[in-house]
Symmetry: none
Subunit: 241 residues, 2 copies
């Protein structure tokens, strides 16, 4: 499995046909690592084969995860594909700019991923919070609902085109390497639990939004392992340990 190519992650995919068509689209563009989060009809799914044009047989086995957090745990940089901007503070890219960013990070040995939501609903905000940036596919505002495999194709296409163009971005140093998502999660869980103990989240209603906003600050910054250690130290210091 090539760590220099983005992983494609489908969250709650419903139709097997769409998973198959997405696999075909990925492989058309040279991507071959597909992960599924909670596929409605389970996996493997025979109907996927009707639309994959043989892609699933050629690709490494599809991996299945119960949650998006688990599916992105080993990744350093994750882009969420959405049809519309969200009320969340994150870099928003075109597919082209997202491909450039992914490529620059891959050149720096970061493992990257691109996340797609379910056919009808797209991604929920809690999923997007786990991602470092958003990519919005340009479309006709009067008719902007994409077929899932079509969205996958466009992102994969821009990735392939990006491989061919020479861009000037200098890859970062080792110190810039973001922590994997599971390390971030460990820190964020601790922070939340310390805040819970102290009654920080005053009401049930605001708790989810508050948590999302707090997570977003740190995920967006692509914090490093060293920074996570520092942040753990800060919490310990502030709570008097």
């Amino acid at each position: 499995m090539s760590s220099d190519k983005p992983v494609i992650i489908l969250v709650d995919p419903q139709m097997g046909e769409n998973i198959g068509a997405a696999a075909r689209a990925m492989l058309n563009m040279g991507l071959d690592e597909l992960r599924l989060v909670n596929p409605r009809d389970g996996w493997p799914n025979e109907t996927a084969i009707t639309m994959d044009a043989g892609a699933l047989e050629i690709m490494p086995p599809v991996q299945v995860f119960p949650t998006l957090a688990a599916a992105v745990a080993d990744l350093h940089f994750v882009v969420a594909t959405t049809a519309r901007p969200r009320d969340m503070v994150k870099p928003v890219f075109t597919p082209r700019a997202a491909a450039a960013e992914i490529n620059a990070r891959a050149n720096n040995d970061q493992k990257t991923g691109i996340v797609f939501g379910a056919e009808r609903m797209g991604l929920i905000n809690d999923d997007i919070t786990l991602c470092h940036a958003i990519a919005i596919i340009p479309s006709n505002p009067a008719f902007s609902s994409f077929n899932l495999a079509q969205a996958v194709l466009l992102m994969a296409y821009e990735w392939l085109v990006e491989q061919d163009s020479a861009h000037g971005r200098i890859s970062g140093t080792d110190e810039n390497f973001p922590a994997t998502q599971d390390k971030c999660e460990e820190f964020l869980s601790r922070l939340e639990s310390e805040l819970e103990k102290r009654g920080f989240f005053r009401t049930e209603e605001i708790r989810p939004t508050m948590k999302r906003n707090i997570r977003n600050i740190f995920i967006r910054a692509c914090i490093t392992d060293q920074e996570i250690k520092t942040l753990h130290g800060i919490i310990s210091s502030l709570i008097g340990k």
Copy 2:
């Protein structure tokens, strides 16, 4: 019908589903003039509607022609989409370059079209002879056979992107507006002073580096006013105020 947009022409299309999916892909990208040459199952075709997500109802009526020559008769500039180069002297474009060419000609009041071959065979050389240029969609050489609607989507996508002068990063909303540096400074000073009180910075030597590293996490994230309030709340909560 807008003469400034390229017409999409499908030659000998076989599956109604693919025609429907192609219509959806076109309209997703703002194209709405679809022409069919000799569709295998005639037209209209009920199976098209299963995959069009309502696009065919919104678009002007699909026109049907017996030959490609008839379908391109009123066009000034026609691009043939193929998977591989042909032994024919013609300009060969990437989808991106083809979109730029189409746009330039449309700005010069030329009526343009993009031609796609049948699912299995692609375009025959006689069809390509009727076209002014060839566009080749980049792909994985080991797995380069595209679904018809996917090919239509990519060409239409490049056309739409070409319309847009904004190629890069989409500017954020008001909510994404970073706080001014003095607000950040106020928060960072408070954090540092609370950490000082608790002996977080163990030695004089590491203090400047530690401070710089901590600052860097938050500055890099371009935190907003709202997020600064949240972070102040977190400090207060952790120190037990």
